[in-house]
């Protein structure tokens, strides 16, 4: 297994109290596999990713439990120096907004080349040549001419391609893409996603795709982890989830996708708001919004029940949910 996150717990200690952002997340990704992490804002999907990358702001953030095994080694036990060598070379991250993720005062060639200079100790000239090669690889036309241009001179899609190029520069084993297409318009979204999927296949990388776009997920993911209030509520291969969700929250998410055959009807929405992470409801965190909630949901935290061999659901009534789907 390339990456195994085991019972990870992260909290933020702020002046107003302790926000429990991640409460026991477990998932794994293998080489060549794509895991989609779904969830609303504040569900802890990005915080989990930051903890894996080791770029969580600490303080206020604090990892209070769990382990992150990357190629068999626990990242949380590594020294910062060792971890820095892993970042960029072994695992890399693609951010949501490529404009703000690229340094405005450095040319894109400088920023791409930095990867080779920092990690591989290449000369400036060699790094330049490598940058042009990378830009070609992510299909930026006229790479030779554009390598010395600055981020603001590129379009949104091209900038995201540069971000992808930077992340892939050293051919890492794992890529975490945090909503890589959210800031792009729809036609470009599909191209960037295709490119990412293709490069992943080519390099046989593990990919963690953090998103709330279920359309993207169905296209590229192998398996899905749905998160709610810092917890995994359902984990399953992608086809199983679309066929029949085993958690009311997953069901709600799927039903709130606009569908062509429901033209004219009102779009379903999950009632209420995600919980305040400083005061997560007792029992199942989803119970105030759940159409299926019973008394047991308000008192007992549902365990992650084994639905089938490669599928789990954290719902007291997963059997009923699955049957009704």
């Amino acid at each position: 297994m390339l990456l195994e996150v085991r019972d990870l717990q992260v909290e933020f200690r702020t002046r107003d109290g302790v926000a429990k952002a991640v409460n026991g997340v477990t998932y794994e990704v293998d080489a060549g596999e794509t895991l989609a992490v779904l969830g609303e804002s504040g569900s802890g999907k990005s915080v989990t990713a930051q903890a894996i990358m080791g770029i969580l702001d600490m303080p206020p953030g604090k990892i209070t439990g769990g382990e992150i095994l990357f190629q068999g080694k626990d990242l949380l036990k590594m020294k910062e120096d060792e971890r820095r060598k892993v970042r960029g070379a072994e695992m890399a991250m693609i951010f949501q907004d490529a404009l703000s993720s690229l340094n405005p005062v450095l040319s894109v060639g400088d920023q791409l080349g930095e990867m080779f200079i920092v990690h591989r100790g290449m000369s400036k000239k060699d790094a330049r040549a490598k940058s042009i090669e990378l830009m070609d690889r992510v299909r930026i036309p006229a790479a030779k001419e554009r390598v010395s241009q600055y981020p603001h001179q590129f379009s949104g899609g091209m900038r995201q391609r540069i971000m992808i190029a930077m992340a892939l520069a050293l051919e890492p084993a794992l890529i975490i893409a945090d909503e890589p297409t959210t800031a792009l318009d729809v036609t470009v979204q599909a191209q960037v996603m295709d490119l990412l999927a293709e490069l992943q296949r080519e390099l046989n990388m593990g990919l963690i795709l953090i998103t709330h776009d279920l359309g993207v997920v169905a296209d590229v993911a192998d398996k899905i982890a749905v998160m709610y209030a810092g917890r995994i509520v359902e984990r399953a291969p992608v086809h199983d989830i679309y066929k029949a969700p085993a958690h009311p929250y997953t069901k709600g998410l799927l039903e709130s996708i606009p569908r062509l055959d429901q033209k004219g009807q009102e779009l379903y929405a999950i009632k209420g708001l995600p919980p305040n992470l400083m005061a997560i409801p007792p029992g199942c965190a989803f119970n105030p919004r759940c159409p299926r909630a019973q008394d047991v949901c308000r008192t007992d935290v549902p365990p992650l029940a084994q639905v089938s061999e490669d599928r789990q659901s954290a719902c007291h009534f997963w059997k009923e949910t699955l049957r009704d789907a």
């Binding site: 990358m53 770029i55 820095r84 060598k85 892993v86 970042r87 960029g88 070379a89 890399a92 991250m93 951010f95 703000s100 993720s101 690229l102 340094n103 405005p104 450095l106 040319s107 930095e114 990867m115 920092v118 990690h119 299909r139 930026i140 036309p141 006229a142 001419e145 554009r146 600055y150 001179q153 590129f154 379009s155 091209m158 930077m166 992340a167 729809v186 036609t187 979204q189 599909a190 191209q191 776009d213 279920l214 359309g215 993207v216 169905a218 296209d219 992608v238 086809h239 679309y242 066929k243 029949a244 799927l254 039903e255 996708i257 606009p258 569908r259 062509l260 055959d261 379903y268 789907a325």
Partner: protein, 329 residues
């Protein structure tokens, strides 16, 4: 919702309303479009040179008359402080008491002062001390201030607390009082005690600005992104934070240069700044001030030179600020 989901179906439905799937064939792929116009949608072809913040600022500056006038003035001042004999042939310290207070004659356009020294020669030679003090003090303040402020802002925590309180201590010392106290005990005829004093009291001004700029810059996503791609602390600070935080420091330092020149004159006037035989506008103003009613020319020439020099640096600072802050355009 239908009873069972076919994954393919859902995928299509999910994408179609947002247009990602269908529109792909319609819109010519972005890459293709760009191939025909490699410069990108804005029409900035590869033949046009890439423009960074600095080249952009330079474009802006070149067209600003304030910048042209002030930088020509400063260039002139620097040239005459390096080679004063280019325009003044005499020796500023060779004086004839018999000529005391004489007014302008041919070859001595500004007349003579109380000691019978040529005012024109002294005014020209006075530029050297002023410019040297101004530039050295500004460099020192900028380096020390941005170092302290940069570290405080980047590392935060108790580093920030310590360095910021230290800055407050020096910030709280009144300049004139501090000058009278510190400099009156130093006996030296070089510019270094004055420069050192200015650096000591001046760095908190830059340090505060640098700290703020660094805190703003380090919150940018690209600093986080650099970290995620394996950059070390020093690399992040030098490559990603510093270049994005340096503009306000440069602006304030340029404006401060003028005020340091004025401060040198003030301290010299009070008798604690530069001392003879160093030729300084401040010393000359101080000596001439007692004769202002009868011989105003002795005061007006060095005072005028001082004013123009200070003005030139402040104008330059203004122009640089306009160029570096795109929001003011």
């Amino acid at each position: 919702m239908p009873e069972a989901y076919d994954p393919k179906d859902v995928a299509k439905d999910a994408i179609a309303p947002t247009g990602a799937g269908g529109a792909m064939d319609l819109a010519m792929s972005e890459a293709e479009t760009l191939e025909k116009n490699p410069g990108g949608p804005l029409g900035t072809g590869p033949q046009e040179k890439a423009r960074s913040l600095w080249t952009d600022a330079w474009h802006q500056l070149r067209r600003n008359p304030v910048f042209i006038i002030s930088s020509l003035l400063i260039l002139f001042l620097i040239v005459i402080s390096l080679w004063p004999s280019l325009i003044a042939s005499g020796d500023p310290n060779s004086c004839q008491l018999s000529k005391a207070h004489e007014s302008a004659t041919s070859g001595h356009p500004f007349g003579y002062d109380a000691q019978g020294c040529d005012v024109y020669t002294r005014t020209v030679y006075g530029a050297r001390a002023s410019i040297a003090v101004g530039i050295c003090a500004t460099l020192g303040v900028a380096i020390l201030g941005s170092l302290m402020g940069g570290l405080a802002g980047f590392f935060g925590g108790w580093w920030d607390g310590l360095l910021s309180r230290l800055a407050d201590v020096f910030f709280a010392i009144p300049v004139i009082l501090g000058g009278l106290v510190f400099l009156s005990v130093v006996v030296s005829s070089t510019i270094w005690p004055v420069v050192g004093f200015m650096i000591l009291l001046g760095w908190p001004q830059i340090s505060r600005i640098a700290r703020g700029a660094v805190i703003t810059a380090k919150q940018n996503d690209y600093v986080q992104a650099a970290r995620a791609l394996g950059a070390s602390n020093s690399r992040m600070l030098l490559r990603h934070v510093a270049p994005n935080a340096i503009a306000p420091v440069i602006v304030v330092a340029t404006i401060a240069l003028g005020t340091y020149i004025a401060l040198e004159a003030t301290l010299s006037y009070l008798g604690v700044g530069l001392r003879p035989p160093t030729v300084s506008w401040g010393i000359d103003i101080s000596n001439a001030s007692q004769y202002i009613r009868n011989y105003p020319h002795e005061l007006l020439w060095p005072a005028g030179a001082l004013s123009i020099t200070v003005l030139a640096f402040i104008m330059l600072g203004d122009a640089v600020r306009d160029a570096l802050d795109p929001k003011l355009r």
